[in-house]
């Protein structure tokens, strides 16, 4: 990172989207040639994401009843209170309280499916990304992993990605009727898992022996894109690129 002229304030402003366009372009250009700088920015992004999702899984308590108003407004206030109580009650009952740490661990079947696929010889042909998940394409392209499998199975749609250096990553997507949950990652030196639900879909990512920083970067970006479906920004692409490392297996 030596040699660059970006202050800590500037790097944080970039992560927060508060940097002017010209300065953003300068920084992106510098990151493209300075892996250390890119990793530092990626670390700041991870911290921001981690803080931003600290309490995602915690359900706020119901709204309090509004305070009583003057007599002339009592009926109106009561109506508002009733409405609020009704809305709060509907929200409360329609959204079962999420556990503080929702269990997004993949079922054994998903793990087995990943193991089976990962241990099979690499296919010679590439699979086609389903149109519904086209937003994933630029993200995964930046990872250097290529889509080798897109197949429905007992765990939903199984997207299998392979890299040039033994990396295999599975993304399972299936319909889900529970409320949205935050990104939950379990990182082990051998097995890496991430899961979340959003917009009625459950996403599970599984990889073996992948560099943990790389896996975390892929998971956080895929998580973000699954929620906004917006094209990945140049900064996000740069971060994923900077995190590319070979798998150990």
């Amino acid at each position: 990172m030596a040699g660059h002229s970006f202050s800590s304030e500037t790097l944080n402003a970039f992560v927060d989207g508060a940097l002017p366009p010209a300065r953003t372009a300068d920084l992106l250009a510098a990151m493209a040639h300075d892996a250390s700088l890119a990793r530092h920015v990626a670390m700041l992004q991870r911290l921001k994401t981690a803080v931003g999702t600290l309490d995602d899984a915690v359900e706020p308590p119901p709204l309090p009843a509004p305070p009583a108003r003057k007599p002339a407004r009592v009926r109106h206030a009561l109506a508002v209170a009733a409405l609020l109580a009704l809305v709060a009650g509907m929200v409360w009952h329609s959204q079962p309280r999420m556990p503080a740490s929702p269990d997004t661990s993949p079922p054994a079947t998903a793990l087995a499916a990943h193991h089976d696929w990962a241990s099979a010889p690499a296919p010679q042909t590439r699979a086609r990304m389903p149109e519904t998940f086209a937003w994933l394409t630029p993200v995964m392209h930046a990872t250097g992993l290529q889509l080798a499998r897109a197949q429905q199975g007992p765990n939903g749609l199984h997207l299998g990605f392979i890299g040039a250096n033994a990396c295999r990553l599975s993304l399972f997507i299936q319909p889900h009727d529970q409320p949205d949950t935050a990104l939950d990652m379990q990182l082990d030196a051998h097995l890496q898992q991430a899961g979340w639900t959003t917009s009625g879909l459950q996403f599970r990512i599984i990889a073996l022996d992948m560099d943990l920083s790389r896996f975390a970067t892929i998971a956080t970006t895929a998580h973000a894109k699954s929620r906004d479906h917006l094209p990945a920004s140049a900064a996000q692409i740069a971060l994923i690129n900077a995190a590319r490392l070979p798998c150990l297996a």
């Binding site: 800590s8 927060d16 981690a50 803080v51 309490d55 309090p64 990182l187 560099d211 590319r244």
Partner: protein, 179 residues
């Protein structure tokens, strides 16, 4: 703003407001109390900003003022120190490769100085821009930038020192490989 719009706007902000309360308070019970008090105060207000951004700043300011009142009542207001009291020489060069888990981040976050927790919560949890946070805290944007920078440096430093964090130095010799 009509009552209905007022309450709808409050409902829309409830998650972020509660997240902010959780960030400010040391435990969930205190956070729930602060959240309830702030919502009650906001719901009973007779004059409410019409502009959406101004409304957001107004609601969060209510919560923050209530929090400051509680700190003052507990004799802990001095903890809401100025930047002069906060270590500004935190080295974070060795933390670039941190991978963190939620529990560790929460623990490290709660160890931050209150002004750092405050500004990180406003920007990262509540989603305020620097300009909005500047207005809410009544400080220049430059101060927001430096506080954010110091807060994240402090958070990274704390995570690095936390044994419970999975700290993942990229293996020597790996750098430069691709694929």
């Amino acid at each position: 703003m009509s009552n209905q719009r007022h309450h709808s706007a409050l409902l829309a902000l409830r998650r972020r407001l509660f997240g902010y309360a959780c960030a400010l308070c040391p435990d969930m019970a205190s956070a729930e109390d602060l959240y309830q008090d702030a919502m009650l105060r906001a719901m009973s207000a007779r004059s409410v900003p019409v502009d959406q951004t101004a409304f957001r700043v107004w609601v969060f300011r209510i919560m923050r003022n209530l929090w400051i009142d509680r700190l003052r009542a507990a004799g802990r207001l001095p903890e809401l120190t100025t930047d002069d009291d906060i270590d500004t020489h935190i080295a974070i060069n060795r933390t670039d490769d941190l991978t963190v888990n939620r529990l560790a981040v929460r623990q490290a976050f709660m160890k931050l100085a209150k002004p750092h927790r405050d500004v990180l919560a406003l920007v990262d949890i509540a989603g305020f821009s620097y300009a909005e946070a500047s207005e809410l805290l009544n400080v220049p944007q430059g101060t927001i930038m430096s506080r954010i920078s110091r807060a994240r440096a402090s958070l990274a430093h704390s995570l690095q020192d936390n044994d419970k964090v999975v700290a993942l130095p990229l293996a020597q010799g790996k750098q430069g490989f691709r694929g």
